[in-house]
Structures are given as C-alpha cells and as structure tokens.
Symmetry: C2
C-alpha cells in the first residue's frame, strides 16, 4: 500500500475545483455550532478547511471537534480558490479521518521560555517561525552549492578527523581514535582545500566544523556548517570579487525563493535587496581611522589601537557606515593565520579580507590569499611553534607546483541569521549544539 | 591585481582561433630538437601545447625544456581545433612563464604501492584516475540534492554530536564535550529525521557519519557521508518507490555529466544504463530460498539459515540473479533496528528494505517504515536495554501526531564506488579515514 499519492498544500493551485486528499496535522481550529474550520498543516503550508456538520458522518464530526493541536488528520474535500483565505485556497471537506487524537501538545501559542523551547526542539521545529528560518537555511545551502557548481568549483569534502590544528589547539574537540591515538574534529578545511585546489583548479568543501569555545554568546555554536571555496591562480582581489558575487547571489535567491518565509519573519527585505556587488572595500588602516573618529564622536567607548583585532562593537560600527556588506582587507599579519600571504610592500600586513555584514551581524566571511613560499612557511611554522612534521604534506604543496591561490570560509548559520534578520544563531540549525546543550 | 581572468581548458571550444592565457601545471612533456609539446593540466582538463624554439625567447625555451612534472606554468597562445588531439584542441604557444620549476615530483607514471599513494593523498588527487573518481562523487552529491530538492524534501541537517546511540554503542566515537560530559559522533540522522519529517512532511539530512569499526575491508571508512531522506505519511511501498527513483536518477546524471570520467575509469556503462526503475523486489523468505538453491548448486559455501543477516557472499549471490539493483524486504525484526514497523500479519518481520547493488557492491540503501505506536516503542526500548530517558524526545513524536512514516539511508562513498566500478571505497573520498589512517 502506498500512502504518498496525496496532494500537498503547496500544490493546491493545480487542483482548484477538484477533490483532493490532504494529510497532515491540526494547526488550529475554530468552530461554531454546525460548522468547523480546522486549519491543516502538512509541512508545505497551512490551509483552512470548512466542515459542515451535515456533510460528514456523526462520528467523524465528533472526532474532529475533539481534536487538539497536532492531532494527525487526513482530509478529503474540494479545493476552492478564495482570495480572503491565507494561501488563497480553502477546502470544502466531505470526508475526514483523525489518525491520532492529540491533547496537551506542549507548545501552545502562549509565550514559552527559551530553555523550554530548546528542550522541545523536536516539536518546536513545527512552529511557523522555526519553519521559516529552516526553509531559508535550506535555500542558503542550495544557493551556495548552485553558485559554486555553476562557477566551475569541484566539491572536495575535507576530513572531519584531523591529526593537527589549523588555527591553534585550545578550541579543538578531542576524539579517542584507535589504540590510544587522538584525533581532533576539524575547525576548517582550509589546508586540505589548498591541496584540492591544486588538483581541480577551483574546489570547495562544505560540512560541519567544530569549536570547543566556552562562549555563550548569541553568535556561537559548538557545531556549525561552513563552506570554503579555494582557487588556484588567484589573488586577494579574486577572493574579494568571488565573495561579493557569492553573497549577492545568495541574497537574491533568498529574496526570490523565500518571500513567504521572509514575511513570516517580518524581515525588512530592503536590507537584503541592498546586498548587490560591488561591495565597499576598506583597508585596515582606514578602518582604524574610522574607529578612532567613532571614538572621538562618542559612538565607541574604547579607543581602538592599530594592530588589534575588531571586537563586535567595532565590526558593528564599521558596517554601520555602509548600507551593504563591507570588505576590510590588509589586516596586521600578527592577528591572522600563519599561512596568509604578505603585502610585499608592507610585510607586516596580511593579504586577508573579512566581509562584515550590516545590521550588527559581524564577520560572515573570512579569507584571503595564501603564502606560496616554502621558506616563508617554514619560518612561520617555527615562529608559531607548530609541529613541522604534521605540516610536511601541506608544505609539499609549495614544493610541487606552488602558485598564488586563495579562498574564504562562510558560516552557514551566521549567514542564515543575517538573511532572516533574527537575533540568535541557535534558531538557524535544526538541532543546535552549544556549551551546555547536546540534547535533544 | 586579479589573476583569474584566464581561460580554463574546458572552455577552449569557445576560443578557437583566438589567443588565450592558460594557467596550470605540467602534466607531461615530449620534445625533439626545436619543438616541444608540453601537456598542461589546469584542473578542468589537459591540453597539448606546441612550442617552436623560434617562437619564444631563448630563456623561455630553456625554462620550458628544464621543467619537471607539476611545474607551475602559464602559457599564452592560439587555440587550434585538431580532431587528432585528446580533447580536440591544441595551443600554438607564443609566450610562456614557468612560475615554479619542479623536479622529482613523488608520483610518477610507474606503479606505486597503496600505502605510498595514501601517504601522498594530497598529491595523488592530481592524478587522472583520482580526478575522475572525485568528479563522479561530486555529481553523485549534486544528483542526490537535486533529486530531493525537486521532489519537495526540505534539508534539515541532523546533529553530529549526539547524547545517545541510534544503533548500539560499541562502534561509537566518544568525544570529550565540556566539563566531563561525553558526546558521541553520529552514526545516523534517522531519529532526528523523524522529527523533521513531522515538521516538514518530507525532509533529509546529508552529512558525515562515523563508525568506530575495527574493520579493514575495502568497504569500510571510519568517516563517510550519508544522505537520509524521510517522509511522513509513507509506507514501506513509498520508501521502495523513492529508493528506485532516487538511484535511477543518480545513475542517469552520472552517465550524462561524467561520460569522460567514466571512460578514464574504463567503466562498463551498460551496467549503469541498466539502473532504471522499477527494480525487482524480493521478500526475505524468497531471498532465503534463493540462497539455499545457490548452496545446493554449489555456488555458495555456507548453508544459509532463515533469520540470519546476509553476509557479503550472500548479497553478491542474490544480486547476481538480476541485472539491476534488487530490493530485499520484510527482514526478520530480530536483525533490524528497534524502531522498525512490523508486518501486521507476521509480526516477526520488520517492514525494512535493503537495496543490493549488482556487481558485488552490496547494500547501498537501507531503510523502511518506522513504528508509530508509543506502547510498542516503549517495549522495544526496554527489550534492547536502551536508556528510556534518552529517548523521551523521540517518543514525543508518537505522543503528538504519530503517523506512518519511513525513509532510508545511502552512503555516498559506496554509491560512488559502484558508479565508478572501482574496487576500494578509499578512493571515493578526498581524504579517507580508516582504522590506521588519519593522515594527511
């Protein structure tokens, strides 16, 4: 027996005037005497149904009237176009079956605390707002993959188990591998991407990454998804051009494919419409000047010093000067990763770029051009007291066909939060993992 | 300065008669006296270039003649169509720059041992065969996502960090979370998918999964990618229909998009052309009869007993009876997961299905219909001595709107090995992780 020969709510436009069978769950119900208006949700939408007491058998009427929220419900009826109805259609019901009567569904329209909702994440996902956020996340993921695939990038997933750290070891999760060996969960596919870019010209990895940070901010997850494209024969300029085309494409896709969800989220879409390449570019030196002016004007509490990394207030201040994402480039090498290429005229600067999103969403992309010289990388590895033996394979990439190359990383959840205009990143992944949360 | 305004080898058809700049690495070189034929690879293809000694400056000629394999090389020249040339084009070079002279590239056309190649995986990826395998993998991943996205599935990534096991605890990797808490790396998103299918109707997760199995077979990786679609209001029949449509689509996409790579791999494409729905369906009882006949005929060494799980020789024998993948269904419940729905007429059977690939590739898909009854699952959790408290959230899915539902899981690397017709799964992922291998 097959069950899936039913109609989904998002297909109703093709069935106006016809009889359909819908399968889903009770979203809400109004009734008065001899007429009931159950709202059915099926995961693709919500539709209002109209049941006349006289149109269905008495036991069906009684079962319908007794339903609580999230009761499992199969309905047959005729599709009627109705401009006043949310979604544009109503169902005139001629048959119904309640598969499961549900009472006391834990999540009600009243306000619940965050901890309660997080404990019930498996049910909270059915709520309209969470639904909208995760639909946007799906579109962001699709857009990322479509953009890179159409742009000639080859997917080359980097490993999750790694023997050594890409960016320091204090925030790594340790795993017992076999026979006492330790492995670490990846923080970035960066180094591996450099190998695959030399093989494929343009490559990307896209998977979960892990940070054992003891942070409880609204921007932190211990497990989050990251996409990292890498290009051989590319400079910082190429990386910046890729980043602005990439983000512009993602925003356009979200606007086009998720207009209904953006309405549910009450997103100011003019903010997304502004995300169009080219983006403003600000040299680190000029960003520092901007921050000092901000401090003088009283807009920033602390006085920023050249050489430091931006804090969240700094990022917000810089991005507030523009109506688009802004690309800050040429950071001090001392605050960037060891593998960054240097500005030849000012070797204290790294050829790195961070893309700062507007509206306080902070850094959504970080990347740059990588160093090509074997000798320089030898020095850097020693300087950072990294175990050279663990990087021998990486150094091979400079021994055998070293060329200018670069790329960036973008966190999917932070990008999704920005697209949705929501405050906390924890809602942008189905089952968030945080400092004190690995359940459900 | 931007570097990426060059032409890629797979775009040469658009530039016949024009001058282009190509950037890549030396793949191979023949030369004789006053003419050299460097073959350039750039990740999108390989093209033969023709350099006349008289057409370039003497120092360029000397640099070109000195190049070893994988030297970094930029070439400018005119594109000439030539039917005899591999790829159909040659480049008449009028300028060239050797960015890096490489000598003694470790991987030569001679035979290398597997361990050597695995130790040099970061370079081995540049080889034509590995290139072809990973291009097929990319297409498999694209096909999986396109199929599910177009079929109305919502991407809902399941977590990597989990508190409890989906299928036993002996093969779980343990992670130190925070403050002494332990987390385990996911083996399947199955249970989480059941929550998201109730939210979205149809959902899927697609990410890395982990098995701490001390196996060194050609079918095992400790880290591999798995896609798992799940449908609400679906039966075993729906799951089987989805599985056969899904695999047929993947095979068609590989045939269409990767014909060049399949040639490199010397794949018998008639095997892939046969992967067209519907697939034969075999009840477990009948599969057992088949195995007993095979034993009687001397084709199978061991005599199979009803109730057992199939070993690799059994799977190979069953699949060899058909020229397509075969779906074996209604397995004994005792050898399947606790959450499987039961055959109502023969409750000792689970409504599960395994899709066995031809040519000895074994089980590529496993899935089925899930149990809907809260009471039944309570019993099963007790019977399997699982900690009920850890499954309370999962049981909520049966308390609040329980409906028939089902889905399956497919391992990307095993599917890729099958599509490519290659023996060992270790070549189907960029950086394989196995019992004694987490490097490079």
């Amino acid at each position: 027996m097959t069950l899936s020969t039913h109609t989904y709510i998002n297909q109703l436009a093709q069935h106006v005037g016809s009889e359909v069978t819908l399968k889903g769950w009770l979203y809400n119900m109004r009734s008065s005497g001899k007429i009931a208006f159950p709202q059915l949700r099926d995961g693709t939408g919500v539709v209002q149904c109209v049941v006349l007491k006289t149109a269905v058998p008495p036991e069906t009427w009684d079962a319908l009237k007794a339903m609580g929220q999230e009761s499992a419900l199969v309905i047959s009826g005729t599709v009627r176009a109705d401009e006043r109805a949310p979604g544009g259609f109503e169902i005139d019901v001629n048959n119904a079956e309640v598969l499961q009567q549900v009472h006391d569904y834990p999540i009600t329209p009243k306000e619940h605390g965050t901890e309660f909702l997080m404990d019930h994440r498996h049910l909270w996902l059915r709520s309209r707002r969470q639904h909208a956020v995760l639909k946007v996340r799906h579109t962001v993921v699709q857009a990322v993959r479509n953009f890179l695939d159409n742009d000639g990038f080859t997917l080359a997933d980097s490993p999750i188990f790694t023997p050594a750290a890409c960016e320091g070891t204090t925030t790594l999760f340790e795993v017992d591998y076999f026979e006492g060996e330790k492995a670490y969960l990846t923080q970035s596919g960066q180094l591996y991407n450099e190998a695959t870019a030399a093989a494929f010209g343009k490559s990307y990895c896209f998977g979960p990454t892990f940070r054992a940070e003891k942070s409880k901010t609204r921007r932190h997850l211990t497990e989050f998804w990251m996409v990292e494209p890498e290009m051989a024969y590319a400079t910082l300029e190429d990386v910046m051009q890729l980043a602005e085309r990439f983000l512009s494409y993602i925003a356009a896709r979200v606007l086009e494919d998720r207009s209904e969800e953006l309405k549910v989220l009450e997103r100011d879409t003019s903010k997304l419409e502004a995300i169009v390449a080219p983006f403003p570019r600000v040299h680190y030196d000029d960003a520092v000047k901007m921050l000092l002016e901000g401090h003088e004007r009283g807009a920033l509490e602390a006085k920023f010093e050249w050489g430091g990394d931006f804090g969240a207030p700094d990022e917000t201040y810089i991005s507030s000067q523009f109506d688009k994402p802004v690309m800050v480039h040429h950071y001090p090498a001392a605050i960037k990763a060891f593998y960054m290429a240097r500005d030849q005229e000012r070797p204290e600067l790294a050829l790195g770029v961070d893309v700062l999103a507007p509206e306080g969403y902070g850094e959504v992309i970080g990347g740059g051009e990588r160093a090509t010289s074997l000798e320089f990388l030898h020095e850097q590895i020693a300087l950072h007291q990294l175990p050279q033996e663990a990087f021998e394979w990486y150094l091979d990439l400079r021994r055998y066909g070293s060329v200018p190359h670069g790329g960036f990383g973008m966190g999917i959840e932070r990008c999704t939060a920005w697209m949705c205009g929501i405050e906390h990143i924890r809602e942008t992944i189905p089952f968030p993992r945080m400092l004190y949360r690995i359940r459900p």
